[in-house]
Amino acid sequence: MDQTVAIETARLGKVYDGVTAIQELSFKVFAGEIFGLLGPNGAGKSTTLRILITLLRPTTGQATVLGHDVVREADCVRRSVGYVPQERAIDRFLTGREHLLLLGDLYHLSKDETQRRIAELLKLVDLEDQADRPAKTYSGGMKRKLDIACGLLPNPKILFLDEPTLGLDVQSRLRIWDYVRHLHERGMTIVLTTNYLDEADRLCDRLAIIDGGRIKALGSPSELKAGLGGDIVSVILGAGEMTRVEALASALKGLPSIKSISTKPTGLDIRVESPEKALPAVLEAANRLACRIEFIDYHRPRLDDVFVAHTGHAIREEFPMENVES
């Protein structure tokens, strides 16, 4: 990968009448890479993206896309980027194909070119059979696919995808990942936002973890994981044992083999130098406190551990993480 800078932001900030959505965001995206913005709901991912595609004006700071300032040279930026919004914006009366035809005209594509790309894209997103139905009759996932086809129609140098696979079934997700990789191989720069850890981990060359409008960590998934050092011991406590979690945490704190401890709703995540030394200590402490352990395991750091380490909380509290092999 060459190291030409495709996108650069400098201390970007956005305040929506009193609500600070993002602040002090500085990052670079290199040409030809897949760059991810990973964060929970409300982190400011969409806001960042909408600034970069010139739909929003930043309150502070600057951003350039392919060397063009997003405020002063918005027209140049618009010509070279494609955008797939998070919420679908489907015209009520047009069919899927008509949406794409309209975009072809808006981007000054020739008729043949438009037809050729439409055929290719409809095949890609598997909408060929539904292309001539009014788009308002599509299911959520079909609308999402149409959105993606719309973003790709102008054959942009940089593609922005806002939560590309939100709400899609597993096959569609995998297909879209494949296609993103395919575009990447063809040299397209791709910026996507996601709150799926596996998506960030498997798809992105580099990513920025965003929480509360700030960048908490920046790097490739493997760098980020290696940056944590050591392994993770996860302890899940039995039902009703959570009252003792604080006692357990403080008993473990300061032990030589333990680097840090974070509390989860179901138990503890313990970052350790080596599990061989730490595991007996953890079991011993639990035993001493008569704390019943439901489940314990250790693993190399995963992206969810990186997320917890940098933000102090899990990306989604309610349910356990998807398994991500590292």
Partner: protein, 256 residues
């Protein structure tokens, strides 16, 4: 297709699959028909009365008795009808966020505004053309001066352009179609009433300026068959002003 043509095609398409055009069109044609019918009957009655008084068939001026009043009343009805046509132009697209499709593409805001305006204007011109049946039928049974009829249509076409441009501006100001419709009623009625206000102030320079701002006087002159550059300038410049303001509003929203 050029981007403007593409947007016009898309707009016309949405108009014709929605009931708005049919509702507005039906009411428009109905009012035009009823008005001209009423004035024709009225003219007939007057002819009968004149015959009784003078004892001979009088030559009636159909331009004054039928066509001009029809045009004048239509002007007032357009104030109520056209905002219904324009209310969705921007408001609906902003509400449904489909406007983002246009906003992130490399076309200019001026192209978007012009295309939206032209699409409603084309619909209006189509309806106006349909009303041409009324004078045509009238000409089969009587004779009248066609010149004021043509200038009357010109007057309606210009007035419509101004009203529609105002409606597009109102629609750009809000996400709510009903609010957009009321906003353009309000604006148009305000401009209309300026004529009365100007008359109250009398023949002073302020009075004349204010009266100039109202569309009524310009309209009357045209329906009498007088084409004055001053009146044409009035309509075209107010239309351009409204579209320019709409452009500014849309532009400022892009940057919210």
């Amino acid at each position: 297709m050029t981007p403007v043509q593409a947007i016009i095609a898309k707009e016309l398409r949405s108009y014709f699959v929605s009931p708005i055009v049919y509702a507005v069109g039906a009411v428009f044609l109905l009012i035009f028909g009823v008005l001209s019918y009423v004035f024709v009957v009225n003219a007939g009655n007057q002819a009968v009365r004149l015959m009784q008084v003078q004892g001979a068939a009088a030559q009636l001026n159909l331009n004054d008795l039928v066509l001009r009043p029809t045009f004048s009343f239509m002007a007032i009805f357009l104030m109520l009808l056209l905002p219904i046509l324009t209310m969705r132009t921007f408001a609906e697209e902003r509400k449904l966020r489909t406007v983002e499709l246009l906003m992130t593409s490399p076309i200019g805001i001026n192209e978007i505004v012009v295309a939206k305006f032209l699409s409603v204007y084309l619909i209006f011109l189509g309806l106006l053309t349909l009303t041409g049946i009324a004078p045509l039928i009238l000409s089969l049974f009587s004779s009248f001066d066609w010149n004021p009829v043509f200038t009357g249509y010109l007057a309606l076409a210009l007035l419509g352009a101004m009203f529609l441009a105002t409606g597009v501006l109102a629609s750009a100001l809000t996400e709510n179609q009903i609010v957009a419709a009321f906003l353009s009623f309000g604006l148009l009625i305000l401009v209309w009433l300026l004529g009365g206000l100007g008359n109250v102030l009398g023949d002073t320079s302020i009075g004349n300026t204010i009266a100039y701002l109202s569309f009524i006087e310009h309209f009357d002159r045209l329906t009498r068959g007088l084409v004055d550059t001053k009146d044409l300038v009035y309509y075209l410049s107010s239309m351009v002003l409204m579209l320019f303001l709409a452009h500014r509003v849309v532009e400022s929203q892009r940057w919210k």
